[in-house]
């Protein structure tokens, strides 16, 4: 007989263990009373309490009892199954039982940590324990299946996090698909001038990595592309990527930009997205000088060879009205193709790394700062472009009116730490504000005022950086800016008054400045919600992708095989983004290198005899695991695709879908147990 099997009709013998978790549980739950109570319940042979059940001695205790007391069921009341279910299943298996004869009771997260009445918490622990004791006799031995894993990886987002993860995986010999929404990779970092705290040039650090991505034999780079469909599961995701038409054939374009030079528009006329509209570009353009891939793109919204306006399906109609000097300039290269259409590519990957980044706060939501109303109010990102040597002013710090500012105010925490907009601290604004202040001082003779709430400079070398730039002669004012308005005494020059309370001196300050820079916070991207659905992720209440556990699984998600890197998980600076990208790559790599994924056996299956073929379940499966067999006229669940969510089980109107570990009898027994009267 298989040692894992329990003989039929063998009496159920349960071992129960309640964990103190140091004092985490024991301070709020009378663990001895719980153990004593459970000892009186039917089928319970052993009932113990122990300081740390997850420790080696704790686990050995279970194994010893299984052997000596001939236990055939094990129940542990401790922390969340998310943390230690695996541990105790392992101990149960090591003791010679099928690991699924184990059941876990959460009396920490669900009990001791959230209650304040010891008596009631103890009674709740007893009720929860009883539920498990009544459930576990119905457990059946189950088998963990191994499914091979596809070694290819998809990385979504080509900012610094996505770039770093892609190179790490590619260097390890894995085939990487890097999908970027914009025409070039580089993300926000490519827009920065210098980076704190080292003040090295952002592009100098970034462009070699971008070039590596562009030329790496293991990386398939798809820019101007979006993921439109994700099916499948860890180890075997089927992903559809839509490649939007750039009207340039990527393989034929050499990046010479002669098309740009010869465009019928002699001068750039259209706002340039990379420079946030501060500069201009032509209908055919290179996103920026160091763009990867180094391939031009045509904007059909403004190119004369297209009819104005989109068709309902999102495509554009060729008008053929232009002289097409670009095509002439391209010559034999023949890289320009006005008839290009969006193309869907289907790929199969085993793991996915999300590195979709953030967006900066739109300061129009804080109208009292006058952004969009007064031309001399800038966002920090706009200042990055203005101050950048490759930016629209070639690095000369001049305002929209062409003048160099004499006095500049930098307003911290715009859209951060604010009840009315975003409550969180965006983590990077203090430091990038200090950096910008430093750069302004470096470029001009201006007086610089930093208005801050608290100066937050944690991290390696950050406080030193703060001390260093603070001594450069800028003004640091501790106070939140209340208002920005035009100087009533000087309406012609565009001069602004920044009003704030200096909370260190208790004075209201009204400081006239030429330029206001808003240190806008970081926000989840607007498409994050769509991505969340597409990839079946969870989001925090703020809208950041949720990690599986903040400490124990900080780059994993609740969907196996999908990992997080960079700011899509929450605001962070470049070093942290890169570190997290490396961690995500390592997690993906460890999964791939193992070669297979273990599949939880809590899957659902259709009782083929009993299914009436009503098809109610078919459209409900989020994993498209259910199909209708036209021959038998019954539903069928592909076990490999089933993730055990239970949706179909609940929805089957004739009770003909059963889920392992969640059979009706198990659940009803559990409910009976939790509702059973407790001793007074």
């Amino acid at each position: 007989m298989n040692i894992m099997e329990t003989r039929k009709n063998e009496p159920v013998r349960i071992g129960f263990y309640v964990c103190h978790c140091g004092v985490n549980i024991a301070h709020m739950v009378d663990v001895e009373a719980v153990a004593k109570y459970v000892a009186t319940l039917p089928n319970v042979v052993v009932s113990r309490n122990y300081k740390y059940m997850c420790s080696d001695p704790g686990q050995e205790m279970i194994q010893k009892d299984i052997r000596e007391q001939r236990l055939n069921r094990v129940v542990v009341a401790a922390c969340s199954p998310l943390l230690h279910e695996h541990t105790f299943r392992g101990a149960t298996e090591a003791g010679g039982l099928n690991p699924f004869y184990f059941q876990m009771v959460n009396i920490r997260e669900h009990n001791s940590w959230v209650h304040t009445d010891r008596l009631e918490a103890t009674r709740k622990a007893m009720a929860l324990a009883r539920a498990a004791i009544q459930r576990v006799p119905h457990h059946k031995p189950l088998e963990v299946k191994k499914v091979p894993i596809n070694p290819d990886v998809l990385i979504v987002g080509g900012g610094i996090a996505g770039i770093h993860a892609a190179i790490t995986m590619a260097n390890a010999g894995k085939k990487v698909y890097l999908v970027e929404k914009e025409p070039s990779i580089g993300g926000h970092m490519a827009m920065f001038d210098k980076t704190f705290p080292t003040l090295d040039c952002a592009m100098c650090v970034l462009s070699p990595k971008m070039a590596t991505v562009g030329s790496h034999p293991n990386i398939t780079l798809w820019t101007y592309s979006e993921v439109v469909k994700v099916d499948g599961y860890v180890g075997n995701f089927k992903v559809t990527v839509r490649r939007k038409p750039r009207y340039i054939i990527e393989d034929l374009c050499t990046g010479c930009q002669e098309c740009v030079a010869n465009c019928v528009y002699k001068e750039p006329k259209f706002p340039d997205a990379f420079n946030l509209g501060l500069g201009k570009r032509k209908p055919v353009y290179m996103p920026f000088a160091q763009a990867i891939p180094s391939i031009a793109i045509i904007d059909p919204e403004v190119c004369l060879n297209f009819k104005r306006g989109k068709n309902p399906d999102g495509s554009y109609t060729v008008s053929d009205k232009c002289k097409k000097l670009c095509v002439v300039a391209c010559g034999d290269r023949k890289a320009i193709d006005f008839s290009q259409k969006a193309e869907d590519k289907e790929i199969t990957v085993g793991t996915i790394i999300m590195a979709t980044g953030f967006k900066t706060f739109d300061p129009r939501r804080t109208p009292y700062y006058g952004y969009g109303v007064y031309p001399n109010v800038y966002t920090a990102l706009e200042l990055e472009r203005v101050i950048n040597a490759s930016g629209p002013t070639e690095g000369h710090l001049v305002m929209r009116n062409g003048k160099e500012p004499k006095r500049v105010a930098i307003v911290h925490c715009v859209g951060s730490r604010d009840e009315n907009t975003n409550r969180w601290c965006s983590r990077v604004c203090c430091l990038y504000s200090l950096k910008l202040a430093h750069l302004i001082l470096e470029h001009t003779d201006a007086e610089v005022y930093n208005f801050y709430i608290d100066m937050r400079t944690p991290g390696k070398s950050m406080e030193e950086f703060y001390n260093r730039v603070a001594e450069e002669g800028m003004h640091l004012v501790r106070g939140r800016v209340a208002d920005v308005y035009p100087d009533p005494n000087d309406t012609a020059s565009g001069r602004l008054i920044v009003q704030a309370e200096d909370t260190l001196t208790n004075r209201i300050l009204k400081i006239p400045v030429d330029m206001v820079v808003l240190s806008v916070g970081l926000e989840p991207r607007p498409e994050a919600e769509d991505l969340r659905r597409l990839f079946n992720l969870s989001c925090s209440s703020e809208g950041w992708f949720l990690e599986r556990h903040p400490k124990l699984a900080p780059v994993s998600t609740f969907t196996d095989g999908i990992f997080l890197a960079g700011c899509c998980q929450g605001p962070k600076d470049i070093p942290d983004s890169v570190a997290q990208a490396g961690a995500a790559a390592a997690e993906a790599f460890s999964l791939i290198d193992k070669g297979y994924v273990e599949q939880e056996p809590n899957t659902a299956f259709v009782l083929a005899e009993e299914c009436s073929g009503c098809k109610s379940c078919i459209p409900l499966c989020p994993y498209t695991a259910i199909s209708f067999n036209e021959e038998t006229k019954k539903a069928f669940i592909n076990e490999a695709l089933c993730k055990g969510c239970g949706t179909c089980v609940a929805a089957c109107p004739s009770g003909s879908i059963v889920q392992n570990l969640f059979e009706d009898q198990e659940i009803f027994s559990e409910i009976d147990g939790v509702l059973a009267p407790l001793p007074q």
Partner: protein
Amino acid sequence: MSKPKVAFYWCASCGGCEETVVDLAEDILGVVEKVDIVLWPVAMDFKYKDVEAMPDKSILATLLNGAIRSTEQEEMARLLRRKSQYMIAYGACAHLGGIPGLANQFTREHILKFNYEDGPSMANDKKTRPQLVTEDNGRTPRLPALTNVVRSLDQVVEVDYYVPGCPPTPKITRAAVTALLENRLPPKGSVIAPDIALCDECPRKATKPANISFREFKRPHQALMDPQKCFLAQGVVCMGPSTRSGCEAACISGGMPCTGCFGPTSRVRDQGLKIMSSLCSNIEPKDEQGISAVIQGIPDPIGTFYRYGLAKSLLRRKVNLPTD
């Protein structure tokens, strides 16, 4: 050898189940030939004391229809249980509580007040209500008391088999009687009907799409129905997917959706919950407003999803109502 004894009895029911026995038509003669009917109040004259006088277990089987909603019915159910080898819950009311079970949404007081005082057709200025005991010309007639809660037969006495339906079809009845007389009975507690949902034998099964999603719910009188197409595909609630088959889709063949009288399959604890879970999962709008607009189309959810099964369901009765 004497013929086996069979009893028919009715409790809270409409009489339709009795009708079915007669609907066996000439087959009834075959049954009468093989058994002695020792009790059948609807057709023959027997007295309580006749039954009481029978030895325990002397009746082979009692086919009892109707729910249990009065003290008299409870007493008869207990008496017949004692006298019978097999107690068979016959029809939806005995099986699940049936239509009378819908009274469990209200208290006894509520029901009596409406029926004897507030009902629009009621003329009862003195607000007279039936009394348990009255004096009439020196006699003291007694009436049974209504219980607070309507119960299925198995909530009162042990039941051996169930014959489902409102009413059970002649085919189902014949199958049950034959099984009984030929001693080919299934395991105790079985419902004598196929354990698969009605869609399996529904003539419209093939017209149900795999990607059903409800934008609205209609009742059959609110639209012209396609006589070939699955009711659910037309936005009409059909209980078929959560209802035991065996009726040969009688209602559907007659142009009306299934209302669920055969009750759930053996695998389902609560028929109403299951069909709600199924239909609601397939409602197209995903926001609260959109969802509530769709379910507006089901003005009486209890009457729709628990038409026969309320007494036996997990909901069972109005909160905190004692049985008596």
